[in-house]
């Protein structure tokens, strides 16, 4: 994928540097703004993209501030206005003037209007909490379990660790594999049928961020256990308490942590 925004930033920088040499503050101003825009937009390559509203805010501020900056000294300001004056007062540039006023401006206004009235197909905003706070108590097949501070009882039995993981693997392939995938990456055979798609276990932002007690609750209760803020209707995770025993759930949890190299959060 061509990374367009850094290129824009560089173009802006080049314009700016070039116009410093040519002593043309107006193009310097334009170049700086283009460069800032490019930089703000390229932020998305190193972090989540900046919200468009913030970018708009920063751009407005930069426009205002740099305009002010270029009007401090009399000579600079005169030079700054020069290109505009040239366009609007120079006899030789009548054509350019006509183009700007009768074609450029209407097109620009038309574009703005288009953007404003263009229908969008975004569903209404609902910020879904993917990993909500679990309840402190839950029922597992009618038995009351304290989720808060719950630990995996099988981990204490370190001697049989490999055995449990092996058993967990079997359970995984009998129950979970269809959606969560052969590679535990959330790309199982059925995964594309769901929206949102099943979560992967690899990587550092799903189970690596969660304590085992959470995973236990989530596996056992499935979509039905989710609070309203997490949109239970947006999850296709079954309630595995209906199919597995407590011990089996713990085993499969050990398997998914072990085979992805993740460690449960313990804090």
């Amino acid at each position: 994928m061509l990374k367009i925004y850094p290129v824009i930033a560089i173009i802006g920088l080049v314009i700016s540097i070039g116009s410093v040499i040519r002593k043309s503050p107006f193009f310097n101003f334009t170049g700086i703004l283009v460069c800032i825009y490019g930089l703000l937009k390229s932020a998305e390559y190193v972090m989540p993209a900046l919200p468009s509203q913030v970018i708009l805010m920063y751009m407005a501020m930069s426009f205002f501030s740099f305009f002010i900056y270029f009007s401090i000294q009399e000579e600079t300001f005169k030079a700054f206005l020069e290109p505009m004056r040239a366009v609007f007062a120079d006899d030789n540039k009548a054509l350019l003037r006509v183009l700007i006023v009768f074609i450029g401006l209407p097109l620009f206004a038309g574009y703005l209007t288009y953007v404003k009235v263009k229908p969008t197909y975004d569903p209404p905003v609902s910020a879904r909490i993917v990993h909500p706070e679990p309840p402190s108590q839950m029922d597992f097949r009618g038995k009351s379990v304290n989720v808060l501070g719950l630990e995996n009882p099988l981990r204490k039995d370190a001697a049989n660790f490999a055995k449990y993981v092996e058993e967990g693997k079997k359970i995984y392939y009998q129950n979970c594999f269809f959606c969560h995938g052969d590679d535990l990456d959330g790309k199982g055979h059925l995964s594309q049928a769901f929206n949102p798609v099943p979560l992967p276990f690899r990587g550092t932002d799903t189970i690596a961020q969660l304590p085992e007690s959470f995973v236990f609750w989530r596996v056992s209760k499935g979509w039905r256990g989710l609070p309203a803020g997490s949109g239970p209707w947006n999850s296709s995770m079954p309630s595995f308490e209906d199919f597995l025993t407590e011990e089996e759930v713990w085993k499969v949890i050990m398997f998914i942590y072990d085979s992805t190299g993740n460690k449960p959060r313990s804090w």
Partner: protein, 582 residues
Amino acid sequence: MADVSVKKGLTKGLIKLTVLLGIGFIFLFVLGRLLPAPSEDGYRVFPVIGSRVWVWIIAQLHLNFAAFVLGVPIFAVSMEYLSWRRSDGRLDRIAYDFTKLFTLAYTITASIGTILLISLPVLYPKFMDHMMRILGPTWWLYIVVMYVEVMVCYYYYYSWHKMKNNKGAHVAIGGLLNIMGVIMLLITSSWVGYMTTPGGVSETGELISRWHAIKTHMWIPLSIHRLVANVVFGAGIAASYAAYRFIVSETDEDRAYYDWMGYTSAMISIGFSLILPGVGYLLGVEIYSFNEQMGIQLMGGFFAWLWVMQAILIGAILMFVNYYLWISLNKMPGGERYFKYVKYLFIVMLLGYAVWLTPHSIALSLDEARKMGTYHPVLGNLGVMAAKNTAVVITYLVTFLSFAIFKMSNKEPVVSWAKLGNALRIIIVAGSTVAVLAIGVYSYMVSSSVRVKVLSPIQFGVFFLSIIALFILDAKMFKNAKIIGAPRWGKMPERSQYALIGITVTFTWLMGMMGYMRSGGRQYWHVYGIIKDTSPDAFLPTHGFAAVVTSILTVIFFALMGLLFYGIMKLEKKGGQGGAKA
């Protein structure tokens, strides 16, 4: 105008005030009879725009003018005092110009006050009944003080030239004027304080202690906050008056004088505005200690986005101020040596501004919300108080440096330790910047109560210490300094004057918005927790609506101000009191 004898002036003032009050009471009486009885829960509806918007606009206009006529005398008298001690004619003239401004503004203030006096009891009879029951006596005291204040003010103005040879007594009268002004401010603040943070009444609104109803949580901090803001605002208006006169003046002499007046007023305004965050902090603490819920609601609840707006506005004000100071370097002989520093100041300013207007939680499009949740992982960090305090302190520091540069730009130090002094200045600036930044970073790691109660005050303390140190250092260093050339007052491009106007308009707008927030903090209560607002206007409007109303009333305010300025010029022409004489 100044030919009018003192006695005549006083009589005129007396008659004006009495007539206005009379009109007010007659209208109240007549309207009370003519209008249909108020609705069951005690409201009448103002046609078309509704009672709330009407009272909102009138009250804010009245407050703007009141702020002006209470704020300007403070530094008008200070100027007169200085001119008296130093026998400086220019200071005397500026003081007289200020006095002219606020004396004439009294009439408009009182007229709008009369409209408010009629509107409130007619539109909100039940609420006003309650207020009169609880704080009635203060209202009668208010009228008495108002009479005294107006008399003193008119006397002060009309006796200006008469008492030329008795300056001490005249300054004393000015002092009395200000004391009266402060008393009026205290009385009105007690009303607003009672509405927002009521005390001294039972839960059903029966009076228990009148003194406690006056001495509410908000009373003193609000009064101090208003007093300081009045000075800032008054000076700002004076600066815009100077800008107006600068732009319309036809002689170089006039331009020189009004340039100087604009500069002086703007610096008074900005200088006093340095105290405002601290005073506002005190006010905030009092609101929190009255009711935590109201405090949080104001700071982070429904009004959270208006603080972003406030950041935009204050950032714009500081940008305008710096711009004005940087442009001013043009008129200083030797100023061109300092343009190279402006670049760096500008960059710091820009970064500070950017941090300051970064919101904590961001209105996101769906797509964006999917990717990151409500808080942006990086920007979210800039949106919190730790970053904002740091940014504002740094931008204030930059503003002070711009001011310092302007002051020293036409001088060359002659003291033997000039080099050492410069090194010292760099150390102070760099040191305080590092300290402020370090505290800022550290405040991410502590709990919010430590941040608010310990670290923020330290941050501001460091700032004040460093500007005091710089001030003393510069005073010592540039004592008897070689002066490259006198400032060429009046040699300013016109756009600098627009910056001055920009400061004042922005500040007025800000005042309108903060007034709305203070008032809106009560939510659906007339008197918080005591008298519920059951009118159709009990809801808080959208921010957009509030912004439009604020803009409209700001424009009305400036239109009236424009009339006032115009009136003064007309009077000057008629009275032969030409501005160019000084």
